[in-house]
C-alpha cells in the first residue's frame, strides 16, 4: 500500500466506522422490527462503502464492483424475506414490537 493510498484509507475509514456505529446503535436500541431492519440497512451501507474504498486504493475497482453487486442482490433478498416475516409477526400479534417474538414456540 502506497502512502497516498493510506491517506485515502485514513480519510474514508472514520466515516465508515461512524456509519457502522450508527447502524449498530439503531439495531441494539430499538424494539421496532422495521426500525431494526433500517439499522441493518445502514450497517450494509457502511460495508458497501468500505468495499468500494478498498477496491479503489488497491486498484481492483472491477472486483470491488462485482462484490458490491453481489452484496446488493443478497441485501434485497434478505430485506424481502425479512419484511415478509415482519408482516407475519404483525398479523399475528398486531404489533411491531420485537419483544413479542420471544413468545414464539417451535
Amino acid at each position: 500500500m502506497t502512502p497516498q493510498s493510506l491517506d485515502v484509507f485514513c480519510f474514508f475509514c472514520p466515516f465508515v466506522l461512524v456509519l457502522f456505529i450508527i447502524g449498530l446503535y439503531c439495531v441494539i436500541v430499538t424494539t421496532n422490527l422495521i426500525r431494526a431492519l433500517i439499522g441493518i440497512e445502514i450497517l450494509i451501507k457502511a460495508v458497501t462503502l468500505l468495499l468500494i474504498v478498498a477496491g479503489y486504493i488497491t486498484g481492483h475497482v472491477a472486483l470491488a464492483q462485482s462484490l458490491v453487486i453481489t452484496l446488493v442482490v443478497i441485501e434485497v433478498v434478505f430485506m424481502v424475506v425479512a419484511v415478509g416475516v415482519v408482516l407475519g409477526a404483525y398479523q399475528h400479534y398486531n404489533s411491531l414490537d420485537a419483544g413479542n417474538l420471544r413468545k414464539l414456540k417451535g
Partner: protein
C-alpha cells in the same frame, strides 16, 4: 477532496437523521437519501456500475418496500413514540457518548484533506470479472434469489391459510 468530505459528512448526517427521527416513514425517506448520497460517493470513487445498482435497488426498490410495509401496519401513537424514546434514552444513554468519543478519537487521527486520489490501474471490466473470475458468486446469487422466492411464497401461503 473537500467535496468528498462534504459528501461523507452528508452521508453521516442523513444516516443519523434516519436513526433518530420518530416517524417511521421519515426513517424510510432518510434511508433512501443515505443511499443516494452513497451513490454519489461511489461515482466519485470510479465505481459507476455498482453506484447505479445502489441507486436503483437500494434507494428505489428497498425504499418502496419499506414504505409499503409501513403503510400496511398501523403507526405508533405520539404517546407510544415518546414513551419508546424515553425508554431508549434511559436504557442506552451511554451509546451516543460512545459515538461522540469515537468521532473525536477518529478525527484526531491523521486526516490529510489535501491530496489527490490516485487513478486506479485499468483493470478488466466488471463484466469480465463477474463472468470469468466470480462465477461462483453468480451461482450463489441465483441460489439466494431462489431461496428468497420460496421464502416469500411460503410466507404468503401461511398468511392465506390464516
Amino acid at each position: 477532496m473537500k467535496l468528498n468530505f462534504v459528501i461523507l459528512i452528508a452521508l453521516v448526517l442523513f444516516s443519523l437523521w434516519t436513526v433518530m427521527t420518530r416517524s417511521l416513514i421519515r426513517s424510510a425517506i432518510g434511508l433512501a437519501l443515505t443511499s443516494a448520497i452513497l451513490t454519489i460517493a461511489m461515482f466519485r470513487l470510479n465505481s459507476p456500475i455498482a453506484a447505479v445498482f445502489e441507486l436503483s435497488v437500494c434507494a428505489g426498490l428497498i425504499s418502496v418496500l419499506f414504505v409499503s410495509t409501513i403503510s400496511l401496519t398501523h403507526p405508533e401513537t405520539r404517546e407510544e413514540a415518546m414513551q419508546h424514546m424515553k425508554d431508549r434514552l434511559t436504557r442506552f444513554w451511554y451509546l451516543p457518548v460512545i459515538v461522540i468519543v469515537a468521532v473525536v478519537i477518529l478525527s484526531a487521527m491523521r486526516m490529510n484533506l489535501h491530496f489527490n486520489l490516485p487513478t486506479p490501474d485499468a483493470e478488466k471490466d466488471v463484466q469480465s470479472v463477474m463472468w470469468n473470475l466470480r462465477q461462483l458468486d453468480l451461482f450463489g446469487q441465483i441460489i439466494v434469489l431462489l431461496t428468497g422466492v420460496f421464502g416469500v411464497v411460503i410466507l404468503l401461503k401461511e398468511a392465506k391459510k390464516k
